[in-house]
Symmetry: C2
Subunit: 141 residues, 2 copies
């Protein structure tokens, strides 16, 4: 459903949200999540450019959330790595589907896919916190 990259990103943000707020080195996040360090580093960098996390360099530095966890919709995290196209996509891959003759599936598909988009928009990172299966996970789907 979600790419591994997006999953790693989500879990990394959740990891940061579960901490004290002090900068956490990427290596520590990677170790906690059991994810390749270099790969996670790249992901965190992307999230940094996206304004979801902030980075601080040098000793004592690391990554921290750029905003409180209850103000970060998971769409902001996932959207950096997946299309997350809200209503744009046609099931059949036609670019000009919603033109003169939208395929009959179009309306039904949107009626069903819109809640998905809403879920990503309205679910905040903070809501994924408790139950901490997120911090010390049993990985490998």
């Amino acid at each position: 459903m979600l790419s591994k990259t997006a999953q790693y990103a989500l879990r990394a943000v959740i990891y940061l949200a579960g901490g004290s707020g002090a900068p956490v080195p990427a290596a520590e996040v990677a170790a906690g999540l059991e994810v390749p360090p270099n790969y996670l580093s790249k992901i965190l960098h992307t999230l940094s450019r996206a304004g979801v996390v902030e980075s601080e360099r040098g000793p004592g530095g690391g990554y921290r959330l750029a905003r409180p966890a209850d103000r970060i919709p998971i769409a902001d995290v996932v959207g950096e790595f997946e299309p997350l196209a809200p209503g744009g996509g046609c099931l059949l891959g036609f670019a000009s589907c919603p033109g003169e003759h939208p395929c009959p599936a179009h309306e039904r598909w949107q009626r069903v896919s819109e809640p998905i988009a809403a879920f990503f928009r309205e679910t905040m990172v903070s809501e994924l916190l408790e139950s901490s299966g997120a911090v010390a996970p049993t990985v490998h789907a």
Copy 2:
């Protein structure tokens, strides 16, 4: 949303459903859909093994639907090329999510993702037929 392969498959089945019922050569379907012939051939073969379409060889042969279009859920078509995981997947990629400590997202996610699965199960190929002149230059007067 759907891979190109799955989209090609769907469109091919729709193309067949729009015809008279007589076998249609794969080359014709490929031409009608503007899809690489050999690639589509492979896709049709997969659908044939899956029991969605039937093939007939020799002159006058080709592919035709194995059942009436209103009895072919699009899940049967798409499912051959995509996981279509029916609610089994955890958003965060945790294998043991629905165990002792399902992540809080889990329930909300399933509540939102189940309709997607239902959409694929309950939408029949026949419902994607009319309009969509982009798919087939359907002859029906």
